[in-house]
Symmetry: C2
Subunit: 101 residues, 2 copies
């Protein structure tokens, strides 16, 4: 099996905006991203301290993820998110998965 | 089921040190962390651009993770890692998991 392309995208916000960002990213994922070609799965996280929202996503390939980012329908949500959140993208490959011994 | 405690710990390095850090974190996880009480699973990632190594880990609770951090046997590896890498911890809870529609 081909290794998935992993995105760990971190949004930084003020705590009073954390829920608003969670709602926007949930909407974007449900309405557009999750039906796109190449998407496998993603997990949305809120930081305990209230200042971050992080999306951990698996895509079949980097190319398919970049196609999605260019797709117009996802953009209004991301644009709104970027009006009040700082966004840091992280593109990875998996080295190893460890399970409880 | 209780929600797991999620750690997304990001190490920043120079690209020539990325493999050294991967090796250290692999050793630390295999030799000590994965047999500890409260550890569920973790996935080690290397960034495509060579500048980051990120550990995504699930623990049963925040308390059990903090017990591990205080455990002396894991420290020499982390100390060595911190001699050449910048470390940023992220403590999260899962909001939602999305699957391909």
């Amino acid at each position: 099996m081909k290794t998935p392309f992993i995105l760990i995208n971190i949004f930084t916000v003020t705590p009073d905006n954390q829920q608003r960002l969670v709602d926007l990213l949930t909407k974007a994922t449900k309405e557009t991203v999750k039906s796109m070609d190449g998407f496998i799965t993603s997990t949305l996280h809120r930081s305990i301290d209230g200042t971050k929202v992080t999306m951990y996503a698996q895509w079949e390939s980097r190319e398919k993820y970049e196609d999605m980012r260019r797709n117009a329908t996802a953009s209004p949500y991301l644009e709104e998110a970027l009006s009040f959140a700082k966004f840091e993208i992280g593109a990875y490959e998996i080295v190893e998965i460890f399970k409880k011994a």
